[in-house]
């Protein structure tokens, strides 16, 4: 029977495919009982065989290359080295712990070997996790090996899981938890996979149930009618037709320029975004350079990575955010210790103030890479709250020979005093995700608080408006690099508030460009006024939807 689960749409478009459930990973219990060696050995053998048989079954249904991959994975589950290795561990620990240790042993070796082997490590870990679940009698964890188009249904996806998804098979993603700015949401948008998060009850679905996901409205239609499928298919057609003629730099109907930029988090993103029709990068997150390193990366190492990121953009702008780490994303070489409230602690520029050596090395590397590539590099600091901090950062950036310096506006204190903060720098960039979190005192990672984090909250729009006014007084540009920049209706509102650049997942650029091209700047200002006049987030969105050009709203 047809039913609708209402989630939050976080990555536009629609997908219609059978559901594939992603099980929660199962860890061996800390107090797992040790059993006698014969029992342990036979339970471990049975568990691996169960995993192998399950994968064989999928392989039989799959075609060509899919089947080949699945057969290779089944071979891993039957590998004598892995099975006997697990049995050899059982002397002092229970069978699940033994499987975990044997698996980890191979994973470590493969990761050390790197390259091709590191990729295999993921497969081994997956087989090991399945065997752990099997030996404990729990359902299989993780994203299963996929044999065709599907809609993934999960509690939430780990960043690594999302990043390694096979785009050709994963037509859509639905999660029970998460929020507008959770990692699943950001990565799904980055990959252009339609997705809905916080779809309560989606875990009750059975594998294979046909599911229609609307990544715009957040609706998940279970076993949809042909009519529903047809409606979304037609919408997709209308979109394709409307967007076909939408190219080039962003601007309103009457020619006010609004730069359309990409958010990127690494070299691969840069290479992909560099080929897209967009005007550069509005947010290059540099954390990946540091997070997995055991020691601080050298200037030369960093410069090489930055060169690879800048090159795909030729002379286009690349706005770099300096290292944004803190207690929730600790660095092996700059751990300031655990904090009660990492989001409110020594993170972003505050960490740079404690460890200026790290910031200086990064700025030096950025300057080298900028000079080598001729890219239009602009550098901005995260978590700026004070005018003094902006001045301190600006001096350091300019001393390193970098021409353009800015600050992220994500702390309400800095937004309210943008008039003075922006005096010190060349530009500002509103990080609306964190700005919403700090304005509404609601943890971004707390799915239950998603309503508070709604980017349509009038209070947030007021804070954004104040920041834009502060920038305008100084004649400085103010951009937006939060997810709200990628919502075509909100993009109109932000433009009306005075925002001059919008940075988003590249997959969202075309719709935003089209929405802008259908409205004059005066119309955008009117929509901004309408949104700020609303009493609630929902009323704000509805009012803008009613006031926007129908050429745009029919596509939503």
């Amino acid at each position: 029977m047809a039913a609708v689960i209402q989630g939050i749409g976080v990555s536009g478009g629609s997908a219609f495919a059978p559901a594939v459930l992603v099980g929660d990973p199962v860890r061996p219990p800390a107090d797992e009982q040790v059993v006698d060696s014969d029992t342990a050995a036979s339970r471990i053998r049975e568990a691996f065989e169960e995993v192998a048989v399950e994968i064989d079954r999928r392989a039989a249904r799959a075609t060509d290359s899919g089947a080949e991959i699945l057969k290779a994975t089944a071979m891993l589950a039957r590998d004598p080295g892995l099975i006997e290795g697990a049995i050899a561990e059982t002397g002092s620990v229970g069978p699940a712990t033994a499987i975990d240790r044997a698996t980890q042993g191979y994973v470590d070796q493969f990761e050390q070997l790197g390259g091709y082997f590191a990729e295999r490590a993921t497969d081994v870990r997956d087989v090991g996790n399945r065997a752990i679940a099997a030996v404990l009698g729990e359902p299989s964890p993780g994203v299963p090996a996929l044999d065709g188009e599907c809609v993934l249904i999960a509690r939430d996806l780990a960043p690594a899981e999302t990043a390694t998804l096979d785009r050709s098979k994963v037509a859509g993603i639905v999660t029970e938890e998460g929020g507008r700015t959770s990692h699943t949401a950001i990565l799904a948008a980055q990959m252009g996979i339609p997705a809905a998060v916080k779809a309560r009850g989606c875990l009750e679905l059975e594998d294979g149930t046909p599911v229609l996901v609307d990544g715009d409205t957040g609706q998940v239609h279970v076993d949809p009618t042909g009519e529903q499928v047809e409606r979304l298919r037609k919408r997709a057609e209308r979109r394709t037709a409307a967007l076909a003629d939408s190219h080039g730099p962003g601007s309103t109907k009457d020619g006010k320029a609004v730069a359309l930029l990409a958010n990127i988090g690494g070299v691969e993103d840069a290479v992909a975004a560099g080929q897209e029709d967009l005007e550069g990068v509005g947010l290059f997150r540099t954390e990946f350079v540091f997070l997995n390193a055991s020691e601080a990366p050298t200037v030369a190492e960093q410069a090489e990575i930055y060169r690879q990121v800048f090159e795909p953009f030729g002379g286009r702008r690349v706005v770099v955010r300096t290292l944004d780490a803190g207690a929730d994303k600790p660095l092996a070489f700059a751990d300031l210790g655990a904090e009660e409230n990492p989001a409110l602690g020594r993170r972003g520029l505050r960490l740079s103030a404690e460890r200026p050596d790290l910031l200086d090395a990064q700025l030096e590397a950025l300057a080298i890479a900028a000079a080598d590539t001729g890219a239009d590099v602009r550098v901005m600091a995260p978590m700026v709250a004070l005018t003094e901090e902006a001045a301190w950062f600006a001096r350091r950036v300019r001393e390193n020979g970098l021409k353009s310096v800015g600050v992220m506006i994500e702390v309400p204190g800095a937004a309210l005093r943008a008039r003075h903060v922006l005096e010190e720098v060349d530009f500002g960039s509103l990080g609306t995700n964190d700005l919403a979190q700090y304005t509404m005192a609601a943890d971004r990672m707390q799915g239950e608080l998603a309503d508070l984090l709604d980017p349509w909250q009038p209070a947030l729009l007021d804070v954004v408006a104040t920041a834009c006014e502060g920038a305008a007084v100084n004649g400085k540009p103010m951009g937006v690099c939060g997810e709200s920049a990628g919502d075509p209706l909100l993009a109109l509102v932000l433009t009306g508030l005075g925002v001059t650049s919008l940075s988003m997942a590249p997959s969202k650029v075309a719709m935003v460009r089209y929405a802008l091209s259908q409205h004059t700047f005066a119309q955008c200002q009117r929509l901004a006024y309408v949104a700020r006049s609303a009493r609630t987030a929902q009323e704000a969105r509805e009012a803008v939807l009613a006031g926007a050009a129908s050429a745009v709203t029919v596509l939503l």
Binding site: D79, G81, L113, Y116
Partner: protein, 89 residues
């Protein structure tokens, strides 16, 4: 224990397809065979994972061992296999 030392002939090293072909040959031989890097700890050669974990590249040497009665014949055949560029075939 009869042993043989052989340099890997496959241009990609001993992983993926070459490793799979080697394990297949070991299983076909039907007797226990061990493998390790020179000076390493001999391990059963019937495991793809064990073979791959050696990380043996083109030109690296590995040591095969066998205690069966027909050890010489079995090892000669396996050595001949490893000397070829299995990936190119």
């Amino acid at each position: 224990m009869t042993t043989r030392t052989v340099a890997i002939g496959s241009s990609v090293g001993l992983h993926a397809r070459p490793a799979a072909l080697f394990v297949e040959a070991v299983n076909k031989a039907g007797v226990p065979v061990t493998i390790c890097k020179p000076g390493g700890d001999p391990r059963p050669a019937n495991s793809m994972l064990t073979i791959m974990a050696l990380g043996a590249k083109h030109g690296d040497e590995v040591v095969l061992g066998c205690e069966a009665d027909n050890a010489d014949a079995v090892l000669d055949e396996l050595v001949a296999l490893l000397e070829r560029d299995l990936d190119a075939e």
